[in-house]
Assembly symmetry: none
Homo-oligomer: 383 residues x 2
């Protein structure tokens, strides 16, 4: 079982003080740290702040850099949109063109999300022969387009000129195989121009981050795992699908996650349980609420342990210190618990305690191999 | 001096208890840990259980994955058979074919080793023009064939179909350069069919793990070392030969190892001393006997130190917890002692103590560079 407390790692609110995790009362995590082995998980590398995509891919055992998911696909997954093999995800910025077609604001004055939704509703009336389009709102000036049904190459020039006073770039094909994608996107762009031409300030869109669904070998194919995802947020379910996990849909609370975990228990052997709240409260900048979110999961641990997992790993996909209000590069507390784990006998679970753990500072991508080893799933290398 | 306590790392027999090494009374190792620097050696990578081949290659400073020795060669080395450059080692399974030539048991009912020896004696009468054959018994249904004198490529299809109810595969050449090897192995297979056809249940062999001697650059060529191996078991002497070490043959006890070490002292500057017992007792599942085997080597340490090595490293090639009765993926206690080593002042030598050592968790492959450095054998890199 991989229990991800999203954004787990933190920083002190005041010099000399505890981190959110250290301030939280976590008797159950502390007991697991005493019985297990701890260390600090490095999601990408020293000094690198992970996004949720690479952060989770590393936890699932994939190369978080080489397997990085394109922004268009990640945005689609993050919004919970369907993205199948061959579909193309495109990030859109609403922008403002002047009457000579030159970009005057690459973000259309950061329009309100409500206006974004109204514009997306108009855009979704666009029809292009041979493909299916879905526009979706992210927030402010950011939106996503998914082009389905045409196996389009993402090797197309981005249209954002990264400057004002010049016209948008054309979606030129960057390879011969991208001719069709280029033609489809030109048609989309002309239709968008017609659709939004009379709007203000958002009278056009810029395209970037073209990406198809990453084709990763599944956890089943790689390791013979029957993996299942128990998550409430779309992005984490999307990332789990990329790894070939079964996904329990419709979960909206931790209670529902725990109930679904029990139901899934007998038919699976790898469980990805995702707890979003510590990251969300960290991004809110609310130290006490982040500590409380950690305590909430700590109280649920006895019920998890009643399922008797062979191996339990508790960690995060990255740190989200509430004093920074965003993801950070700090390594993430991580503990391994299981019958073949040599205990560190640490007194508690926390950033500084994990720094004394015998796992040391280690790459998050190694967690999967170590879980498999402790679960008795790996054979010897060499004779 | 590299002192390898084979299978050194262990696990507690009962929750909260000590490991074998922690339970052992090791006053001399404890003193070296106080005077030296400790850490946990990772032979291959997190979660990976090393075989003896890659485990030792890493300790000698070679890439344990890229330099992995093929099974056929390793089996030959393990049996103490001669394997020169150009020779081909092949692992054999005695198997049972039905009267239509289909495999009905890939292991011939796991025949007794005694029967294996009798069959190997028959097989050693086979003669194939242009090559020299040596068949040798491993155990039960497992045997080895060495083909000498023909510089044969190992790029030949394995004949084990990995299934029953189908005939063995043919030793097809997988590259153009393997045409000759394929032809020779076809001749061998036909001769084996004639030789064993009337036997039961072992009336044929399946071939796999073709491998020549790995061609590693010697420790002398790489580092200017006059290296010598003091080991009692064939496999470790074979691995030392792969690294270009001189090997003292005929050693059968620790007393003889120690005496030979003294004799070799003045003419060499790298000493690989191999102590097999901790691994063997771990594989027996005998916690107390493994602890006693560690204590036995501890009592010999003063005599080793009387030789006044510049640098002493004590570690294992992998862990062999007696509770698991087999090699494991757990990192291995390791200590460095020498005049240029910054002491950790640890109170003792053990898994948990080494987890607090200032070397941290580090790759076994780095041990050689650190030994050379502490021995004053490396120059500055860059100006």
């Amino acid at each position: 079982m991989l229990l991800v407390l999203d954004g787990l790692g933190g920083l002190p609110r005041e010099p000399g003080g505890p981190t959110e995790l250290e301030a939280a009362a976590t008797p159950n995590l502390d007991r697991l740290a005493a019985e297990g082995q701890s260390g600090l998980s490095q999601p990408i590398g020293l000094g690198i702040t992970p996004g949720s995509g690479p952060g989770h891919l590393a936890l699932f055992g994939y190369d978080p850099v080489g397997s990085n998911i394109g922004r268009g696909a990640l945005s689609a997954l993050g919004l919970g949109l369907r993205l199948d093999a061959g579909d193309l995800g495109v990030r859109l910025n609403f922008c403002t063109l002047d009457d000579r077609g030159r970009v005057v604001d690459r973000r259309a004055g950061r329009i309100e999300t409500g206006l974004n939704r109204a514009l997306v509703e108009k855009l979704n009336k666009i029809e292009i022969p041979g493909v299916e389009l879905e526009f979706a709102t992210e927030s402010q000036h950011r939106a996503v387009l998914i082009v389905r049904g045409a196996y389009l190459s993402p090797a197309v020039q981005e249209t954002d000129p990264q400057a004002v006073g010049v016209p948008p770039l054309e979606p030129e094909p960057l390879t011969a195989a991208a001719q069709h994608a280029s033609a489809v996107l030109r048609s989309v762009i002309e239709a968008v121009r017609d659709c939004l031409g009379s709007e203000s300030p958002a009278n056009f869109v810029l395209m970037r981050g073209y990406a198809g669904l990453p084709e990763l070998e599944s956890l089943n194919s790689l390791y013979g795992l029957q993996a299942v995802c128990l998550a409430t947020y779309p992005m984490y379910k999307g990332l789990a699908r990329v790894a070939g996990m079964s996904v329990v849909d419709g979960l909206e609370s931790a209670d529902e996650q725990m109930a679904a975990l029990g139901v899934a228990w007998d038919d699976h052997d790898y469980f990805f349980v995702h707890h979003k709240a510590p990251d969300a409260r960290g991004e809110d900048g609310d130290f006490d609420a982040k500590a409380a979110a950690i305590e909430e999961m700590d109280r649920r641990l006895p019920a998890l342990m009643d399922l008797e997992p062979d191996v339990l790993v508790v960690t995060g996909d990255h740190s989200t210190p509430s004093v920074l209000r965003q993801h950070s590069w700090h390594p993430v507390p991580c503990l391994f618990w299981g019958g073949r784990v040599l205990p560190d006998s640490l007194e508690r679970f926390g950033e500084r305690a994990c720094g004394q753990g015998s796992l040391g500072v280690f790459p998050a991508q190694s967690i999967m191999a170590l879980m498999l080893a402790h679960g008795g799933r790996l054979q010897k290398f060499g004779a």
